[in-house]
């Protein structure tokens, strides 16, 4: 068993980066995630693992530093919060277009605009449907605990390199700020230059070697026919993710008549709601998507065969509900899908969830 520690979600991200063999972190301060870079600066990993930590002049610069570092086959990451991720959207689109692996953490806060510093899940659309220009998808992981904040960093790098695609950890201010016990991962060495050349020599820009043709990182292709081919290749990659990378968790679904669908901190609240509902005799379960893209469509289709309906619980105006409705539609079995959520940085209470469930879904209003 690994080392056990009590820490914040943001600190767990930083600790995981050092331990999983990350080569570089580039970021810009923004509440509620500044502890990620602060922790890294205190831990000073450049002395121990050789990991670089740099405070960039803006989120715009930070994401482009990821483009540069990731393009050389290094494990690079950044973290930010909602308005900062909006600034990064240009770079994320270029990174997706140039197929550069990297990890982006969004510890969401309420919006739109400068919004609030309280937790939110209002960037679901931005994370899962694009954000930047063009047809692209990020692989999006949604942690619901400090442990998962820690564990998903290494997992994200593995997936980013497997698909040569940016991976986003979509968290929120509650998970970033709350403290829980974490079992820390083991230290893994950073890849050497030789290992990078051997593994990724076909695409990395590490200086043209005599035994290979030059490599170019670019999202530009003015020949429309070739650009369409590139897009077809991207779409095939996203489809493969949908087939192979769906992650989710079912909680008390075996005998459930009604299903809550929630991710991240809302999923934690729903676990309490289920306990309260079951005390009243309502057979309630939870489906927690862990990957938001690819979305767990098949598990929802399976549940459609035996439950009476679904309700999403989200800290936004109802964004994930669209994916749940699509999943129900694609199952071919009609089941009602309702939504309950709070906005502007307010976290829904377990009581509100149960009373809304009784009114909207069970009561049919």
């Amino acid at each position: 068993m690994g080392e056990l520690k009590l820490m914040k979600g943001n600190e767990a991200i930083a600790e995981a980066a050092i331990r999983c063999g990350c080569d570089g972190y580039f970021g810009y301060p923004i509440t509620p995630q500044s502890e990620v870079m602060e922790t890294l600066m205190v831990r000073a990993p450049w002395d121990k693992t050789g990991m670089v930590v740099l405070q960039a002049e803006s989120e715009v610069a930070a994401i482009n530093m990821l483009y540069g570092g990731g393009g050389t086959g290094k494990k690079v990451m950044t973290s930010s919060s909602s308005p900062g991720v909006s600034l990064m959207s240009e770079g994320i689109s270029y990174i997706a277009g140039a197929e550069i692996p990297c990890v982006i953490v969004n510890v969401q806060r309420g919006g739109p605009g400068l919004g609030t510093i309280q937790p939110s899940q209002a960037d679901y659309f931005q994370a899962t449907k694009g954000g930047g220009n063009g047809d692209y998808n990020l692989l999006v992981l949604a942690p619901n605990s400090v442990q998962e904040m820690h564990d998903f960093v290494g997992l994200s790098f593995d997936l980013a390199f497997k698909y040569r695609n940016p991976v986003m950890i979509l968290s929120d201010g509650a998970i970033g700020q709350m403290m829980e016990k974490v079992t820390l991962g083991d230290f893994k060495p950073r890849l050497t230059s030789e290992e990078i050349e051997n593994k990724y020599g076909s695409w990395v820009t590490t200086g043209k070697k005599k035994n290979r043709s030059r490599n170019v990182m670019t999202s530009l292709e003015l020949n429309s026919e070739q650009m369409e081919k590139n897009n077809i290749r991207f779409q095939a990659k996203y489809k493969k993710m949908e087939e192979e990378e769906v992650r989710y968790e079912e909680y008390m679904c075996d005998d459930a008549e009604y299903i809550l669908v929630a991710f991240g901190s809302c999923a934690r609240i729903c676990m309490k709601s289920i306990e309260m509902a079951r005390a009243k005799g309502i057979k309630l379960g939870l489906l927690r998507p862990i990957t938001l893209f690819p979305f767990p469509k098949k598990p929802i289709a399976e549940l459609c065969k035996r439950v009476k309906g679904f309700m999403t619980v989200e800290m936004n105006a109802g964004q994930m509900i669209e994916d749940v409705k699509l999943s129900v539609y694609e199952s071919g079995i009609f089941k009602p899908v309702k939504y309950y959520g709070r906005m502007g940085g307010i976290i829904p209470s377990p009581e509100e969830v149960v009373s809304t469930l009784e009114k909207k879904l069970i009561g049919g209003n």
Binding site: G24, A56, A61, N64, G68, V76, G207, R214, T218, L220
Partner: protein, 270 residues
């Protein structure tokens, strides 16, 4: 003799060749307009990388603008950056690969307008990169609009009656600003309109590259350039216009040649 059947050997007699295409310059036909300065500067960069023997450790970062396709012409690894972001991309490459040689190649719209923040901060941090800055006082790729370096009175597609201070502000001498930044060790302004200027420019770029190899921080070479299509002049007239109008405002020569600033000059005692 059928001139179409002449081989290179027939034309160039042994011992008489004084110049040849650099090995690292690829055979792709350049998209630049006749008379444009980009091709000359590309050739110099290819020559210098070859002469320094650093192809295997070099990563170039190309911009958005006319030189967006710079990566098609020089046989090295390249990264194509978003508009203005080349210094941030180069920072990322260089920071996690301190043993590599990284340079950016940027135009005036890319470097001095949309990328003004990125170039300032990369130079202020003293990133160990070289910057080649092509200043032709216009946006070439998009069809000749005003650039931050466009001269007062200069006619462009978006200043049809000439650049006007009230409407457009002043031409930006960004290289003078860069020279003030403590992270830079070498800041110079060159041109490539004559054989002598080309030789001087080559010496400057080589010095900038050597500085980076010696880890002396940021080296910055502006090349005052022509854009005869954007300026709507033939190449000869464009060179003359550049000499008469650009050089008085953007004088050629070194602005700084030394070392990064001594940190003690920036400590509390001072």
């Amino acid at each position: 003799m059928d001139t179409n059947k002449l081989t290179q050997q027939d034309i160039i007699r042994q011992g008489e060749q004084v110049y040849k295409k650099p090995e690292l310059l690829l055979n792709n036909t350049m998209h630049y307009c006749p008379g444009c300065s980009h091709g000359v500067v590309h050739r110099l960069i290819a020559e210098i990388i070859g002469e320094l023997g650093i192809q295997e450790k070099t990563i170039g970062v190309s911009p958005v603008g006319c030189s967006v396709f710079a990566y098609k012409y020089i046989d090295i690894d390249w990264q194509e950056a978003a508009h203005g972001r080349a210094p941030a991309v180069a920072t990322g490459i260089s920071r996690v690969n301190p043993d590599k040689f990284v340079f950016t190649y940027q135009g005036d719209g890319d470097l001095a307008s949309i990328g003004a923040a990125e170039i300032m901060h990369a130079c202020n941090r003293g990133e160990n990169i070289a910057v080649i800055f092509i200043n032709n006082a216009i946006y070439g790729m998009t069809g000749g609009q005003m650039a931050p370096t466009t001269l007062l009175g200069q006619v462009t597609a978006t200043t049809p009656k000439g650049r006007n201070v009230e409407r457009n502000g002043y031409p930006l001498k960004i290289t003078e600003l860069i020279a003030q930044l403590p992270g830079t060790s070498y800041v110079t302004r060159q041109s490539v309109e004559t054989a002598m200027a080309v030789r001087k420019c080559k010496t400057a770029i080589k010095k900038a590259f050597k500085n980076v190899l010696a880890k002396k921080g940021t080296s910055f070479v502006e090349v005052v350039s022509t854009c005869n299509s954007g300026w709507k002049m033939n190449p000869v007239k464009a060179n003359k216009w550049m000499e008469e109008n650009m050089f008085p405002f953007y004088p050629v020569g070194d602005l700084k040649d030394g070392e990064k600033a001594d940190p003690s000059l920036y400590s509390k005692k001072n």
